[in-house]
Symmetry: C3
Subunit: 321 residues, 3 copies
């Protein structure tokens, strides 16, 4: 039996040195009213959120669920109203995503830069095999019998589980792709710091030149026994379950939750923030733009039920003969 997903990992929050809500409000130019000036101890995602955590709401689609967050502070747009009897403190700003980026930069802590091949603070099991040209960043943990092939890069704070294999050119933990778009009079994109990390569980294999980005906060996760082919792209905060198979050149955008035993064909793309159920199969080259229920087989771009796709293709072919 493969191990179940480890619930003890803090996948959706990253602790910070405690800071008062009033200091956070000041940093982002938000008004803070009241005397409930509690300490904030982490940056967290909106859902589930955690007590003591600060998070943000930028996407209107999540407004209805805002009341469900367990975070202590939410940065929201000035145009947005707080739910009634809301337990959270709301900080209102013009551009919540930019304010969030500012906070991450000011109070978060990215890993230190280094030009060493193997960081002194990395913890590498004596049975791990580390090839030529490998770089392992600060505070990374490499498990038993792990095999790391030449020219792999592991950014700081990454965890690689027992018996996992990383093929040449793999990049674990690079900055996720997050930039706040400008709002006039601003004209430049603002980089979002990524203070999270990557967790690769046991018995995972990652194909050559594939990339797993680190999380904004919390962790990007590859579940136990999952296998990725070459040149795959896994965005920040993606969580992939156990026993999945991803063929070559698959791309999964940020914050997707992929279930267990999911099979994904070559060159498939999955848009951000989607949930793909257990045992789903996705045909090669599909483009997935919405959630997929457990056990479904889908294909096409935009991807639809596979049997429907085949009927459509057959019908369209006949019509044009």
């Amino acid at each position: 039996m493969l191990a179940k997903r480890n619930k003890m990992d803090r996948l959706t929050a990253t602790p910070i040195k405690p800071v008062l809500v009033s200091e956070i409000a000041k940093a982002i130019g938000a008004e803070f009213i009241g005397n409930n000036d509690i300490q904030i101890t982490s940056f967290c995602t909106l859902f589930p959120g955690e007590p003591g955590g600060v998070t943000f709401l930028a996407n209107g689609a999540y407004s209805k669920r805002l009341k469900d967050t367990k975070a202590s502070v939410v940065i929201i747009s000035k145009k947005q109203s707080c739910p009634e009897n809301f337990a959270c403190i709301c900080l209102r700003v013009d551009n919540p995503y930019r304010a969030w980026g500012k906070l991450l930069l000011e109070f978060g802590k990215e890993a230190p830069w280094s030009n060493k091949a193997i960081s002194d603070s990395a913890i590498i099991h004596e049975t791990a095999q580390i090839a030529n040209g490998v770089t392992i960043g600060a505070n990374s943990i490499i498990g038993k019998n792990v095999i790391i092939h030449p020219n792999v890069t592991i950014y700081p704070n990454s965890k690689i589980g027992d018996n996992s294999i990383l093929h040449s050119g793999v990049v674990i933990g690079a900055d996720g792709f997050g930039f706040a778009l400008p709002q006039l009079p601003e004209t430049s994109l603002q980089k979002i710091s990524h203070i999270g990390h990557v967790i690769i569980n046991e018995n995972v294999e990652i194909g050559a030149n594939s990339c797993i980005d680190r999380a904004v906060v919390g962790a990007t996760l590859i579940g136990a026994g999952t296998k990725l082919d070459n040149l795959c792209q896994i965005g920040h905060n993606v969580q992939i379950g156990i026993g999945c198979v991803l063929a070559g050149q698959v791309g999964i955008a940020g914050s997707c939750i992929i279930g267990n035993h999911v099979q994904i064909g070559g060159q498939v793309g999955i848009a951000g923030h989607l949930e793909i159920g257990d045992f789903v199969k996705i045909g090669a080259k599909s483009g997935v733009h919405k959630n997929v229920e457990k056990g479904k087989t889908i294909m096409g771009t935009p991807a639809i039920d596979a049997s429907k796709f085949r009927r459509k293709f057959a019908a369209s072919n006949m019509k044009n003969e």
Copy 2:
């Protein structure tokens, strides 16, 4: 004139230290009846197969052609019947692909692990140019005037032909993507050992960060004079002919046979086990799911004749104006 494909290379079989059929049967829990306990001298593909070789049949689509194999032993499903008067020895198991994986692991021999930059056993022509950060594995052969740019990885047993150029980040010979799916009560994927290698013939150019996986048995082949752009993925046991042109981000799944002078547009994907004829042209971003005859031009996903594709697109556009 470009050289013809070298028929002397054993592209579809890998020799092993000889072992008796009865030992193979025992290893995979198959019944072996009779006194024809011959020596097995190689692992081979089903077609053509070679005398002395052991292979397997997992895909029902090949059942009809089973009688054509030249292998001496075939591992088949217990549900499968052997052809009448079949010259081969059939070994019956519940899951032929998992049994094959077990045999490769037990009797095959993967290249030894090393953390050296350039293996002592690699044979590198004195005129070859090897840049900074390159890793060359055991028993690899690098020909005359080969140029290997920085941070290339060449796994063991690879052959790089004269005048070929490998750009930065190229990975030659990583493990192919082969995992036997679990059958209950099993729940974990089983890695298929890859004991084959990669052959790059002369005058080949391979673009930055492209990956050519090594074969399960025999060789993955890139024919003379063929040019690959950046970020291409070539699966295990693919054979590409001479003078082909592959644009950027093309993916070719395992065991495809690509003819000579084939032109493949950017981001094309080709499903596994297909045959693409000489002089075929494939439009950018197409998804190819079946064999393509010599000289055809195709496009779309699933790819169809190019002129038909254009008519369909024009018709569908008019309808919705």
Copy 3:
């Protein structure tokens, strides 16, 4: 404010050691008539072209605009007629692209080969951070506060602007993908030398394992403040404007001009020689095959107006329910 594109960069021409037109004609077997044996001082693109430059016309689609070039010499097909009162010298050959390739090889000058990690002639600002396993080629210039992560390769003559970030495995300046197809009795592809380079302007971020090819002549350009995600492929002579965002696995074929503030979704492919206007948005996984006007939003393969795409998809879905 982001800096405007720097007009002083010679993006479409590369200087050469001066050579007479008669020598060029002789090298490619073209007839040179007249006594106007001027000196040629650069290789340049057809448009705009520059006085003193030699260029070529291989694509019939540009014939009508031939009279607009500012080049001094154009290599054209024997089947092609020169415009009347044409200020240029026309050199006629059977295969202009092969002739061009021959000239680049004979009179152009590729950067010298080296196996050093950091070339002695590279100019690296003292504030730049260069990680483990990085290779920087001859005459490259690395600006202030640039961060180069492990295992990046920078080919010779590249320029990396201030505050830019290159993630692990990035390849800057590899040979563009240019090969002249054979015309009988020839049977082999002829490599086109790339004597141009790459310019990355300030505040650019390039994701892990992405590739930016160098130009045939002149430069491939990434504009200030533009951000690329992982595994992107940017072909030779592409020019990308300021403040653009390219998601993962995007591919842009050679010589495209991308405007400012363009947003490109994951896995999009853009065919060669296209112009994409400012503020264009391209939906994920689209295939773009023609120019796109300023401000448009497009999607699909081939890509069409986004609202039209959605209507077509909805209609086609209903029809098959």
